[in-house]
Symmetry: C4
Subunit: 316 residues, 4 copies
């Protein structure tokens, strides 16, 4: 491979080409990048939109408690004696009484069993009720913002395989399938091999696109096996697992699809490192027809493979 | 046709090429795929977004009742005697009283004719009112999520026809039209013929794109007749209805358009099987001008056709 | 022009090519199509989303009144004596009392001065409060749906002009400009000439694309003059106003842009008929620099033109 | 450069080519255009969507106060004696009482300590509660509209540099990086040089695209240095800082990316004037690897550069 390297125009998909030392894998198993960005400006809204459901509702509830505590103090300071409990034997400390009144006002439940009886308290209560409604307006906006974000529903095989592909060539391949009922259409795949070239004082990272047998399917209705044919034109022709480990190789996968249910494009990124690439194996088909001609797809069987003898276009 | 088959590069739009047996039609009459996917992860939100209106509001109401029942039990357990009915002769069982109080709190209607009179009940009521507002925040998000999804408004003719098209050729054609007031623009059509090739131990499914006379219209303002000309270059030149039945043929149609009212691309899929293809018929035009030069389109007449004599480029 | 017509491949942008009689203009002055579509399925949501603000809020208020009237009847029938007015000398007919109670329940304002005092009325009130919240959830969804729809903010000149353009050629041109503070980017224009060709028994409509000097601007920051150069390659070389009237010509304009503020593509359609095309005029520039080098654009001056002598590549 | 100018087809990205005098910079430092547009139609919704948070909530609160004041007057005029305060020693002027009642009704908090006791006041209160809910429905829609708009999170270097680039050529370059946790994908850059050509009676503005070494990265994960190589094919080969000042040059940058978190394309525009372009400097790398192979990016160091000796393809 070394001799062919000059011919390939180097390009950078956005991960940098020049490092002091070798790097860890660029794309982590969970799809995030192995890059720590210092000085980033986070937006509160963005954080609230992307955090988990449990955490989100915890934040909402804690904020609700704190705002009511704040209003309880305001009532306490402005004249707690003007918050009156009628028809009730409610016998609690003043601040707690103010807190209950605040909750009843902020949520606009307003039972009336506790009520304000002077001008200033009435005015504060009117402003608190408005604040409460705006609070829930923001919460509604955040809840919908969380819903409207499509959840990427693509599952990829745990392993990349080097399998027999055509009569005279092997192929480097992985499988993806749709995980959700959403229909994914216009699905495109790009595969890039990243390798390190050691120099005396630095490490140069090279990115080599691997041509695919098919880089597009109209639907992700079944599972799709994406294949790079390892023939003489391939930059990894004759490349072995040991070569990959030596070069700190990482096969970067970029998937782009259109989610018909959300009307949005979705992007997915993942990668395979040499430990996850198996030489001499092939995927077991995970769809079949029953006696009535109905097609069945077993999504969870996407990872399954069996041994296979290579034709020999790699590792020779 | 058999002799030409080698020349066509086989491709898979995402439905699989290799089966043990013949399959049923791939795209059902309602547009869904004839694929049972096992192991799919459904998202509650997605289900709530795509179910029918009646079912959705039933789910909301039942959830509302259950949540109020739950809060009624909480009040019951925490001290039912602290839910007090004032100025009222309301004489109902304790649990029912708690349920009514819960409904008045959860919806924040808070009449005050039933009210809490100790600390713990006041606190629970404050939390319930907040829960109620979040419940309706989620409901609002779901309602809007349902609205913001464009409803595909394309109607296709029940049948595909083989009609006389040009002087020396017939055409395989179908019609589509817009069903909604939304304007659909940049409309594209793809037509793919799927046929089965029987082998001793398996069935190979082949997908052959059929070239169209026009594969794009700027607007779907009238109806659009999509035509594959059956000339010597056509893979179905000389192909008869019996050939189609023998090959388990299915003509797959993919339509893509931009819905100007929603600012989203919409995709539509349907197919015709041999039983739905009529040899020797032509569509009756479904638009006309009145005496004032106004154009009228009769959407429901899109299915109508009459007999016609073929030129003979098919079925010879 | 007649002799060149054969060379141009006829195409149909979606308006039909074959009519019994001549038609009125295809695209009306307000941008709608001159096509009456019979059998259209309207969606309530879509209507509520696209109607004017005044009409929308009128529909909301009337629905609110009717729903409260309905609930008033339900209370009336289920036992009006269980809706009790306390501490008040409210002396109104029973049904009106029920209507006021319904409004206070549906909006969840729940003063408590009118309150339910038996089981069935309490239950109905609890369901009405929930219905009210869902009603306003739907209203909120509709309000946002109306907001999220970008309002197309492109203004086009009232007239199309035939002006001197280059040294040896005239040009057929019109101007557009952005009307809103939204920045429109990636603006594309297509211009199509539609003409009628009379046959003994029918009228054939032909659509001839007119090539543009520039069909793309990166920004619509100033005004953009879109020009079809009338040179020897132009299908309207030597074509006069009288020819246009004879052929029932209509110049169809399609504009496509990306609205950066809404993240959506917007499409706009309009057309010019011969009466709106002025031979021998040129647009007066509607932007200028002040003494400080600041650029000023006068949006409303987009329509202004003055007389100009043609080079003569048209109407000769 | 003068002699090459004829060869370059002049084009206009949308800023005008013909001015009476020289203009200030076209794209201001904050990304807005230096164009005053007169006659623009602003939409209230658009203004409310694009103003700052503080201003937005101030507008909401002031509107809330004014609407309540209006309803207070309506109650005052329709019979203030029918707004009754029960169980309370609330001793305030009539109009203030009506204002407090209005706030309690508009927000639907409805304590009931102040309540209406005739038909007309009950009816007005029912309509006010509905108005209040619609008011907050609109506020909710506006809040979400503000959230759903992606905030462009790209930071560009303060300066453009002329740096040594390849063995025999210098490069004109700037850097961008992502500022937010959002992942920006499919990032494209266009660079256009705008210069003034003085004529006796007017100034002609020319726009010359500058070819880039790479005009696309798949991810904006690190920082991206966008480079125009100054070789013999470059229109600025041999062009000096003085030439740039003389020609009133401005380098316009257009960035387009897909924001994966919002599912929308984002566009960004900025420019460099000669005072911001530094001859003979190079950027200091702002990412490095730690001992564990983890990549660190220092976003705020994007502006940093050091002196460097030019190869000499510019300014000779």
């Amino acid at each position: 491979m070394a001799k062919d390297k000059e011919k390939i125009k180097n390009f950078d998909p956005g991960f940098g080409v020049d490092y002091k030392t070798r790097t860890k894998r660029i794309i982590n198993k969970n799809g995030s990048f192995n890059i720590k960005r210092h000085g980033m400006r986070k937006l509160v809204f963005h954080s609230l939109r992307s955090m988990g459901n449990l955490r989100f509702f915890t934040v909402v509830i804690i904020t609700y408690m704190l705002v009511n505590l704040l209003f309880a103090f305001i009532y306490y300071l402005s004249g707690i004696e003007h918050i009156v409990a009628s028809q009730t034997h409610l016998n609690v400390p003043d601040l707690l009484m103010a807190f209950f009144f605040s909750m009843q006002t902020f949520t606009t439940v307003g039972f009336g069993s506790i009520f304000p009886d002077d001008a200033i308290t009435n005015f504060i209560a009117g402003m608190e009720a408005m604040t409460g409604l705006l609070f829930f307006a923001v919460a509604t906006g955040l809840v919908y913002g969380r819903f409207s974000k499509p959840v990427i529903g693509i599952m990829s095989s745990h392993n990349m395989l080097v399998s027999p592909f055509n009569k005279n060539e092997d192929g480097l391949m992985f499988r993806i399938t749709g995980l959700r009922p959403n229909v994914l259409v216009e699905v495109e795949a790009k595969v890039i091999l990243a390798i390190d070239v050691d120099h005396s004082d630095h490490v140069q990272r090279e990115y080599i696109p691997l041509e695919l047998d098919t880089d597009y399917v109209a639907f992700l209705a079944l599972s799709w096996t994406v294949v790079h044919p390892i023939n003489k034109k391939s930059p990894i022709y004759g490349y072995s697992k040991e070569d990959m480990i030596r070069d700190n190789a990482e096969v970067l996968i970029l998937i782009r699809a259109y989610d018909d249910a959300y009307g949005q494009h979705v992007h997915m990124r993942f990668s395979y490192v040499p430990e996850e690439i198996i030489w001499g194996a092939k995927f077991i088909r995970n769809y079949f027809t029953d006696e009535e001609g109905e097609i069945h797809l077993n999504i969870n069987a996407i990872h399954e493979y069996e041994n296979a003898t290579l034709v020999g276009s790699s590792d020779v």
